[in-house]
C-alpha cells in the first residue's frame, strides 16, 4: 500500500476543496507545511465536484482547483465531476 497525495496553497479558495476531500476520503490525513495544505491518503484519493458545491452553495468548475494546486502524486483520472488519484492501473 502506498500513499497518493495532493497539496494546495493554504488559502480561502482551497478551503472548501480541502474540506470536501477530507469528508469524501475517510482515510485521508491533512498536514500543514508552511503555506500549504498537504493531503495524504492510502492508495486512492478522490475530489468530487458535488461535495465542493455542497459546501460553497455555488457552481464549481473542477478546473478551478489548478489555481491553487501545488503538487500531487498518483495516476490521475479526471472528468467533469471528479478527479481521482490512485496507483491502481
Amino acid at each position: 500500500m502506498s500513499n497518493v497525495f495532493i497539496a494546495f496553497q493554504d488559502n480561502e479558495d482551497s478551503r472548501p476543496i480541502i474540506e470536501a476531500i477530507l469528508t469524501d476520503n475517510a482515510a485521508a490525513q491533512a498536514t500543514y507545511p508552511t503555506g500549504l495544505v498537504k493531503i495524504d491518503a492510502p492508495d486512492r484519493l478522490v475530489i468530487r465536484r458535488e461535495s465542493i458545491e455542497e459546501l460553497t452553495g455555488r457552481p464549481f468548475d473542477l478546473q478551478q482547483i489548478h489555481v491553487n494546486l501545488v503538487t500531487l502524486s498518483g495516476r490521475i483520472d479526471e472528468d467533469d465531476d471528479q478527479l481521482s488519484l490512485s496507483w491502481i492501473n
Binding site: R15, P33, G57
Partner: protein, 331 residues
C-alpha cells in the same frame, strides 16, 4: 566557500486564538471565517443602556424570543466573512457585466416583442421596493440580532438585497427609459395588485424580534417570491416568449437565492433543534408569515403568469414547506 541553504519548518505552538480554539480545537489551523466570526460578539462591560431602548443592553440576546445557550451555534455553512463574500460577489458582478455586454452588443433588447418587454417591466420594476425592504430588514437583523455568526451574514444579506434592487433598476434602464422606474414606483404605491405585498413588506419593517424578522423576510417571503418571479416568470415564461435577454440580465437573483437558502435553512435548523420551545416558536412564525406571504403574492402571481400564477405560487409554497420539513420544523 559553499553556502548551504536549509529550510527549517517552525511549528507554531498555537494554531489559532484561544477563543476560536474553544470552538474548533487547536489541532489544526482555524479558517479565517472561524477566526473572524466565532465568539467575537461583545458581551460585557457595556457603558450604559441605550436611551432609545432602556429595557435592553446595546447588544442583548433577549431582543429575540428564541433562546440559545450559545448564539455562536448559528453558523453560516458558506463560511462567508468579508473577504470571501466580496470575492464571491465580485465574480458574480463580472458575470453579469459580461451578460450586459453580450445583450447590448447584439441588440437583444430591441429584438424582444413589445408585449414581452412591457410585461417584464410591469412585473419586475415594483420589486425594487421589495428588495429594498429586504435590505432594511436584514440591516435590522444585523443591528438587533445577537452573535456575530448570525448577524454578520445578515449584513451581507442586506447588501445582497441592495444589489438585487440595483440590478432590477439597471434592468429597467436597459429595457426602457428612466420613466419606467417611476411607473414601477407608482404601481407599487397605487396599483391594487401590489398592495397586499406592500402591506406585508411594510409590516415586516416594524417587526422587533430579529429572529421573527429573519423568518418573515428571508424564509416566508423570499422563498416564495424568488422561485415564482425569477424561476417561473423570468426564466420560463418570459424566456420562452423571446425574452432571454431579461433572463440573462437578472441571472444574479436566482443564483444568489439558491446560495443564500443554505444559510437561511441552516440558521432555522440549528435554532429549532436547540429546544422544543424554539421549534414551536419558529414553526408558528413560518406558518403565519408564509400563509400571509402566499396570499400577498397571489395577485402578483396572477399579474405575472395569468391563470398559471396560482399554480406556480403553490409550487413555490410546497417547496418552502419541504425546506422547513428538512430543517426540522413542523410546517
Amino acid at each position: 566557500m559553499t553556502v548551504d541553504l536549509h529550510t527549517r519548518e517552525i511549528k507554531p505552538l498555537r494554531n489559532t486564538f484561544s477563543h476560536t480554539a474553544k470552538y474548533v480545537g487547536n489541532d489544526k489551523p482555524a479558517s479565517r471565517y472561524q477566526e473572524a466570526t466565532l465568539d467575537t460578539q461583545p458581551t460585557d462591560n457595556f457603558h450604559y443602556r441605550p436611551t432609545w431602548d432602556p429595557a435592553h443592553e446595546i447588544f442583548d440576546a433577549s431582543r429575540s424570543a428564541v433562546k440559545m445557550a450559545d448564539w455562536n451555534a448559528l453558523r453560516d455553512p458558506r463560511q462567508y466573512y468579508y473577504a470571501t463574500w466580496t470575492m464571491a460577489r465580485a465574480r458574480q458582478q463580472d458575470a453579469i457585466e459580461s451578460n450586459y455586454e453580450f445583450v447590448q452588443s447584439r441588440g437583444l433588447v430591441a429584438k424582444m416583442s413589445e408585449a414581452v418587454r412591457s410585461k417584464a417591466c410591469e412585473v419586475l420594476m415594483p420589486l425594487r421596493h421589495v428588495a429594498w425592504g429586504g435590505n432594511m430588514n436584514n440591516s435590522s437583523i444585523a443591528a438587533y440580532g445577537y452573535g456575530t455568526p448570525f448577524t454578520a451574514p445578515a449584513m451581507f444579506h442586506a447588501l445582497d438585497h441592495l444589489g438585487a434592487a440595483q440590478f432590477i433598476t439597471r434592468l429597467g434602464l436597459a429595457l426602457d427609459e428612466s420613466a419606467i422606474l417611476d411607473a414601477g414606483k407608482n404601481d407599487w404605491l397605487n396599483a391594487a395588485c401590489w398592495q397586499p405585498l406592500r402591506h406585508y413588506v411594510e409590516d415586516t419593517l416594524v417587526l422587533q424580534d430579529p429572529l421573527e424578522l429573519f423568518v418573515a423576510q428571508n424564509l416566508a417571503l423570499d422563498a416564495q417570491l424568488y422561485p415564482l418571479i425569477y424561476g417561473n416568470f423570468v426564466d420560463d415564461h418570459i424566456a420562452l416568449r423571446g425574452g432571454t435577454a431579461v433572463s440573462m440580465l437578472a441571472a444574479f437573483m436566482p443564483e444568489w437565492h439558491a446560495e443564500s437558502a443554505r444559510w437561511i435553512d441552516a440558521v432555522v435548523k440549528v435554532a429549532a433543534a436547540e429546544s422544543d420551545a424554539n421549534r414551536q416558536l419558529i414553526s408558528g412564525w413560518v406558518t403565519a408569515w408564509a400563509d400571509r406571504a402566499q396570499t400577498a403574492l397571489t395577485p402578483v402571481a396572477e399579474l405575472a403568469l395569468g391563470d398559471a400564477g396560482v399554480v406556480a405560487l403553490q409550487e413555490a409554497r410546497d417547496a418552502l414547506d419541504l425546506r422547513c420539513e428538512k430543517a426540522g420544523l413542523v410546517a
